[in-house]
Symmetry: none
């Protein structure tokens, strides 16, 4: 379970962030000012801090100095377009910033991006007859470790995270390889290798003229 600390004095924004992060599966704790934030940080482990700059008592910068040595990523929440703040925050070690007003999509995207960067992905994912440990990138089947290469693992993870969805070749390729699809057969080959290693000849369905889909009957 991923724990996020939100330090924000505006109740409306605090709730907006909290509700939406909880909705997509994060555990949230809240502090209304810098002091509370520092206290919570002293007592608990968090995977990420969302930090407003304008806070009563202790301001965001001061708190940031306190957080930094803990090695916890921080996303700054700044009032509308104060570029000075953004720059200062980034210089001081914030990992990203969010400018009010922001959209829910943007909030979630930034949180996920930072977490991904810190490799604090979720826990263990169970799908069909395998389990994937996203921390160690290990894949087990019947308690036996299946050794996958990097690309194979990335591809598997994407398939798993989007199981029961028809995935277009281009999308799949672009997400895993992070470059444009150039009509090459690379993706097909990797799919075959996955199928072979996991004995998933039927589980990974090919959708003719479209792409592939990992099927998990629910």
């Amino acid at each position: 379970m991923i724990k996020i600390l939100i330090v924000e004095d505006e109740k409306a924004i605090l709730d907006l962030i909290k509700i939406n992060l909880q909705r997509v599966g994060y555990q949230c704790e809240c502090a209304n000012n810098g002091k509370e934030g520092a206290d919570l940080l002293a007592e608990n482990d968090y995977d990420l801090v969302l930090l407003d700059i304008m806070l009563p008592h202790i301001n965001g910068y001061e708190l940031l100095e306190y957080i930094e040595p803990l090695g916890i990523p921080v996303i700054f929440v700044t009032a509308k377009g104060s570029i000075k703040d953004r720059v200062k925050g980034l210089h001081m070690g914030a990992d990203d910033y969010l400018v009010k007003p922001f959209s829910i999509d943007e909030l979630i995207a930034r949180v996920e991006s930072v977490l991904r960067r810190y490799h604090k992905g979720m826990k263990v994912i169970h799908v069909l007859d395998i389990e994937i440990d996203t921390q160690t990138r290990q894949v087990k089947q019947n308690n036996q470790i299946i050794s996958l290469t990097n690309k194979e693992y990335d591809l598997l993870l994407y398939l798993v995270q989007n199981r029961n969805t028809a995935l277009y070749r281009e999308v799949l390729y672009e997400k895993v390889w992070e470059e444009e699809w150039d009509e090459s057969r690379t993706l097909d080959l990797h799919i075959q290798r996955l199928r072979k290693k996991l004995n998933w000849h039927h589980e990974i369905k090919t959708i003719f003229k479209v792409g592939y889909m990992l099927e998990e009957h629910v």
Copy 2:
């Protein structure tokens, strides 16, 4: 089946939204004011609420407070870019907003985006005796999977999304094949294949010298 509640007092906009959402396969119910909306919400389950802010009696914000604890996503419909409203809405928990005047494409895109975010888009369209899962591109009839080819699926989806409308050959061909119609019989052949696979010999009507129409008596 996905159910959407539309709360909007302007008849024209209400119809515009309703007709277009129904066209792409959502079930819609409507309320002309906040009171009606609250009543419907009390009695039914919805997957999404489209909520106008300016409503007689109970305004959008008040209704939003009522909806929030239900955990149903809300898209705000606001008059011209009043940023204040947008911000307020987002702060209060709306998931997205739509600024009048909006395009149909935008409407559908936002609806789908929010639904996807909430329950990873179980967008299933029910028509006659089949159900189409647009996520997996699977078509079921009496709970049996009907295997369709790519072109067949695309054609079926277009027919379904435009059911009860006479579709000209050229239009149909150009939409599905994405190229000019060249007087070939290809379309006819695919129509026949669909009719056969789905046993839809009467449901897909041919309109002499014009084209085809999927008929769903309502």
